[in-house]
């Protein structure tokens, strides 16, 4: 294992120390692993809290700031944070209008956030939980823990965050978050595995000519293994899975996301393939993100996330945002 770290057990805290040094707009409690806006809670504004395992950077810490999250709680690498962190974050961002928990649908994240919401309600803080579950690779929720929450989390955090800045109610912010989730679908493909620092070796092995289709974001194997193919074919396989689940039409917000070890030149090449695919279905990419937004350590691969926009959602997407990883309009 070659990694730019000091010690496997200190990866998360050492990185948070770097975040604190780089971003004075954030208040970073390194020991308790809670990141909030340095300005503190905004009176009368719904607080947005998200969190999850580390290793997906910039998600979630990189999305704390104006127009997006009020707080993030990173867990150990690929391990959900604990209720204590989420409760501390919830208390810190409560401006009296309630707190929204944005939770990716993984068993551990859901269980820990549920416990935290229980504890927060003992404090008299109103908490609503929105679970993101956009991964079409999980086909049968009857026989699984349900669809995973992946790329749509970025869209949910941005759009719900924009609405919250306008002093919308907790119910309205939660409804917008759910609407984004319901209108979004994702599919991921890995060319390589990744190595959890404390584990020291790759989570799974892929041969030189093999790819893993339908991956999540934790280096877990996908639903099936395929042969390496031209990018056009791989992009089409991902888009076919999305289109079969949510037929593409109208204006779309599309993210072509790198898993951490994919060069931008390949992501742009993929974006071109995705764009052609979308045009072929008579739809239009009205907004886009191309880059690394929800990663899986150093994994080579990508995910594509599609959201069917409405005028209202597009307007919220365009609203000003000022975070370490997304910044425009301000």
């Amino acid at each position: 294992m070659k990694k730019l770290i000091n010690a496997p057990e200190a990866v998360v805290t050492d990185a948070l120390a770097g975040v604190a040094a780089a971003h004075p707009g954030l208040a970073v409690d390194i020991e308790n692993k809670v990141i909030t806006r340095a300005a503190g809670p905004t009176r009368g504004k719904v607080g947005l809290v998200s969190g999850g395992g580390s290793g997906h950077e910039p998600l979630h810490v990189g999305f704390v700031g104006f127009g997006m999250l009020d707080a993030a709680c990173p867990g150990e690498v690929f391990t959900s944070p604990v209720p204590d962190q989420m409760l501390a974050a919830t208390r810190a961002v409560n401006g009296g209008a309630g707190v929204l928990h944005i939770v990716k649908n993984y068993t551990g994240d859901v269980l820990n956030f549920e416990m935290a919401a229980d504890l927060a309600s003992d404090d008299g803080i109103e908490v609503t939980q929105v679970v993101v579950n956009d991964d079409v690779a999980v086909q049968d929720s009857l026989y699984t823990a349900g669809r995973r929450g992946v790329g749509a989390t970025v869209f949910v955090e941005k759009i719900a965050g924009a609405l919250a800045e306008r002093a919308a109610s907790l119910a309205d912010v939660a409804a917008a978050a759910r609407e984004v989730n319901e209108r979004s679908r994702s599919f991921g493909v890995a060319l390589t595995s990744c190595t959890v620092p404390a584990a020291g070796k790759p989570t799974f092995e892929l041969g030189d000519s093999e790819i893993e289709l339908g991956i999540g974001i934790h280096g877990e194997p996908g639903r099936s293994r395929g042969e390496m193919a031209p990018a056009a074919d791989i992009a089409a396989a991902a888009m076919d899975a999305i289109h079969a689940d949510l037929p593409l039409s109208g204006d779309l917000l599309v993210m072509v996301n790198g898993m951490g070890g994919t060069p931008l030149i390949e992501l742009y090449l993929l974006f071109n393939e995705v764009n052609k695919y979308v045009q072929g279905k008579g739809a239009r990419i009205a907004r886009n993100l191309v880059g690394n937004y929800i990663t899986s350590l150093e994994m080579q691969g990508f995910s594509v996330t599609v959201c069917q926009l409405t005028d209202a959602l597009a307007e919220l997407w365009d609203a000003p945002v000022d975070t370490p990883a997304l910044r425009w309009g301000r």
């Binding site: 150990e76 391990t79 604990v82 959890v196």
Partner: protein, 212 residues
């Protein structure tokens, strides 16, 4: 069995989890995300530290503190599930200074109920329930047959180990392994494996003659 017995159980569990850390992580790498051994070792290490610092006069207080510590330190699904198990067991034992075999059986029954309520898992879904449920049944049966403590705890541990082995042929229907569908077959469930280790630690502590 007094508070010292239960502290000895958790110390033994911490030791066995630490020694099997990489094995549990490898089981998780096959069908999950390669962190189970790492997280449990970290959690039981924290339990050991917490028990050294706090006063735990009763078996119930030992298990309750262990559960709270696991919830606070582990994360993932294992933190809440094991935390709930130990907290429910502790609550079942209450503040009595000693627990007998019947109390222990009731406590483990409460632990199982807590895990099933939180995780919504049933037997046969390739989870820790597949080790815990048969273990609880085996302990109850051994007690009903009048087995001495050592034999009853051996029956408990054997059933948990057999239950964990039986998960190899199961397809996961809960947790992260469920995303693999049929590809989850052929691998032992890491949560069932760690449950079997923790109950083996209980047997081993009992075999030292402290389970009276």
């Amino acid at each position: 069995m007094d508070a010292a017995f239960f502290r000895a159980w958790l110390a033994e569990a911490a030791a066995v989890v630490e020694s099997q850390r990489d094995h549990l992580t490898q089981l998780d790498a096959a069908i999950g995300d390669a962190d189970h051994g790492i997280n449990l070792a970290r959690g039981f290490g924290a339990v050991t530290a917490a028990l050294e610092q706090a006063s735990t006069p009763s078996p119930g207080s030992v298990l309750t503190l262990a559960g709270s510590t696991l919830i606070s330190k582990v994360g993932g699904a294992a933190g809440p599930l094991y935390g709930m198990a130990f907290r429910q067991a502790g609550k079942s034992l209450g503040s009595k200074p000693r627990a007998d075999l019947h109390d222990l059986a009731d406590a483990l029954e409460a632990a199982l109920a807590g895990v099933q309520k939180l995780g919504a898992a049933r037997e046969g879904e390739k989870t820790m329930v597949d080790a815990l449920a048969p273990a609880v049944s085996a302990l109850g049966k051994a007690i009903a047959e009048g087995a001495p403590a050592g034999a009853a705890l051996a029956a408990l541990a054997d059933a948990a180990a057999a239950g964990a082995q039986a998960t190899i042929s199961m397809q996961a229907l809960k947790g992260r392994a469920s995303y693999l569908g049929p590809r989850s077959v052929g691998h032992e469930d890491p949560g069932a494996a760690s449950t079997a280790l923790i109950l083996r630690a209980l047997r081993d502590v009992g075999a030292r003659g402290e389970a009276t």
